[in-house]
């Protein structure tokens, strides 16, 4: 004999409520940010966190497979450039580092044959190219900017970087750090930019690659290194997807 409908329906309610509680508990746990997907060193062994982390690594591989080294990002005209170009960093605009261009030296380390530091004059003596492309932020907004500098592939070849290595890492004057995969580093639109729409946001040197989200375009670069050991990144270690390709 069947119980009345309301009773059978109500039998599901505790499960639904439990499910909801669990989902919202997840949210509570990840509030304040850092327990969810805490980079390579997952401290808690929560199953949902581990699943989300594994999916993010899976998405890294999918994006690497989807990446076409010959596919160029759309370019725009100077009239399309967004002004003022939005400032974005993990700190406020008043805290941007002020770097003395005269004494600036770009440091190199890791799997690089010629690790001599570079002055801005040295970098400007290399062939320069420019691009007007769309920068897409992980937050969703986008802005069109102009960047000019050295093709990163040319620079990596020039310094004798191991182009078969997996990663290129960046250490920045604002204590930001990030890393990209070698195929993206060698993409024809990846620039070591010396001049850009809002020069004070990254002076004297930033990376510009339209094939990745904005936070993968480090500013105020002080050191570049090449490695096979996963270097992570400021936001990546907090749980943002590492590849973050566009």
């Amino acid at each position: 004999m069947k119980p009345p409908r309301s009773e059978r329906l109500s039998a599901f309610r505790p499960q639904i409520a439990r499910l909801e509680r669990r989902l919202f508990l997840k949210q509570g746990l990840s509030l304040g940010a850092l327990s969810l997907l805490s980079g390579c060193t997952l401290k808690d062994d929560d199953a949902v966190d581990r699943l989300l982390f594994a999916m993010s690594r899976f998405n890294d591989r999918v994006q690497a497979a989807l990446f076409d080294p010959a596919k160029l990002a759309p370019t725009y005209s100077e009239a399309d450039v967004t002004t003022p170009f939005p400032f974005n960093a993990y700190y406020e605009e008043k805290d941007i580092p002020l770097i003395d261009g005269e004494n600036y030296r770009l440091q190199l380390s890791g799997l690089i044959a010629d690790k001599r530091p570079w002055s801005l004059g040295d970098l400007r003596a290399l062939p320069q190219s420019s691009q007007i492309t769309r920068l897409v932020c992980v937050e969703g907004w986008s802005a069109i900017g102009q960047w000019r500098g050295v093709a990163f592939r040319h620079f990596l070849e020039r310094i004798g970087a191991d182009l078969t290595a997996r990663y290129v890492g960046f250490k920045c004057a604002d204590k930001y750090y990030s890393s990209i995969d070698m195929p993206s580093a060698l993409h024809p639109q990846t620039l070591l930019a010396l001049d850009f729409t809002d020069a004070k946001y990254g002076y004297p040197l930033r990376l510009r690659l339209p094939t990745k989200l904005g936070f993968k375009n480090p500013k105020f670069i002080g050191e570049i290194f090449v490695t096979n050991d996963y270097p992570g990144g400021y936001w990546e270690d907090k749980g943002y997807n590492w590849f973050s390709g566009s």
């Binding site: 509570g28 990840s30 997907l37 993010s56 596919k71 990002a73 992980v138 969703g140």
Partner: protein, 205 residues
């Protein structure tokens, strides 16, 4: 459609029930994490209440969104393949008529619409096909804003990156509007929720 008289009829095939509930979970995760992602850079002059979002912060919401997208897409593809191959779409959604749907909605609002278990009325046909299309648009516009360089042809078809964001938003809004009506009816019309679990009509006719 003629069902058995004595034993309860299966009005929702097992495949449809399983993909329905998997889809329900995936949509739940996609919408609530999507609201948190929206809040990071609101397109319009409002934000979603934080308590009704999933992920806690942007990175968490993105992790949920880009994990559940696989569930939504693969489950959706399985459902579409089943619907096309088994004849489920042809039997359940055809013929489809906007005029008929409009009439049925008017009947329903006057309380005159009969709900025949196992057979979709004209309004259901239009709404179900409509929400399937909305999910497809949501997935395509989502891909367009996820990969505006690698999938730039798709992004261009969506009107460019910034337009694709808005398409994605309105696809979500369409799905949520559907859900308000769908869930409202599912819990208020007598005897239609349980068969979505059991597959069988409550009162064999």
């Amino acid at each position: 459609m003629v069902g058995g008289v004595d034993k309860p009829r299966t009005i929702h095939p097992l495949f449809v029930r399983v993909t329905h509930w998997v889809n329900a979970f995936a949509i739940f995760v996609m919408v609530l994490s999507g609201w948190r992602i929206y809040n990071a850079s609101p397109l319009f002059g409002f934000e979603f209440p934080k308590d009704f979002t999933l992920g806690g912060w942007l990175a968490g919401a993105l992790a949920w969104h880009f994990a559940a997208m696989w569930l939504l897409a693969l489950n959706g593809l399985a459902y579409l393949a089943y619907g096309l191959v088994s004849g489920h779409f042809r039997r359940s959604f055809m013929p489809i008529s906007l005029r008929g749907a409009f009439d049925d909605v008017l009947f329903a609002m006057r309380g005159l619409l009969d709900h025949a278990p196992g057979r979709y009325n004209a309004a259901q046909r239009v709404f179900y096909v409509g929400v399937i299309l909305a999910v497809i648009v949501a997935i395509l516009s989502g891909l367009a804003i996820w990969k505006p360089v690698q999938l730039q042809t798709l992004t261009a078809l969506m009107g460019g990156y910034e337009t694709a964001r808005r398409v994605h938003f309105f696809a979500m809004a369409t799905i949520v509007a559907f859900l308000v009506v769908h869930i409202g009816l599912a819990v208020s019309v007598k005897g239609i929720l349980a068969p979505m679990f059991t597959g069988r009509a409550e009162t064999p006719r």
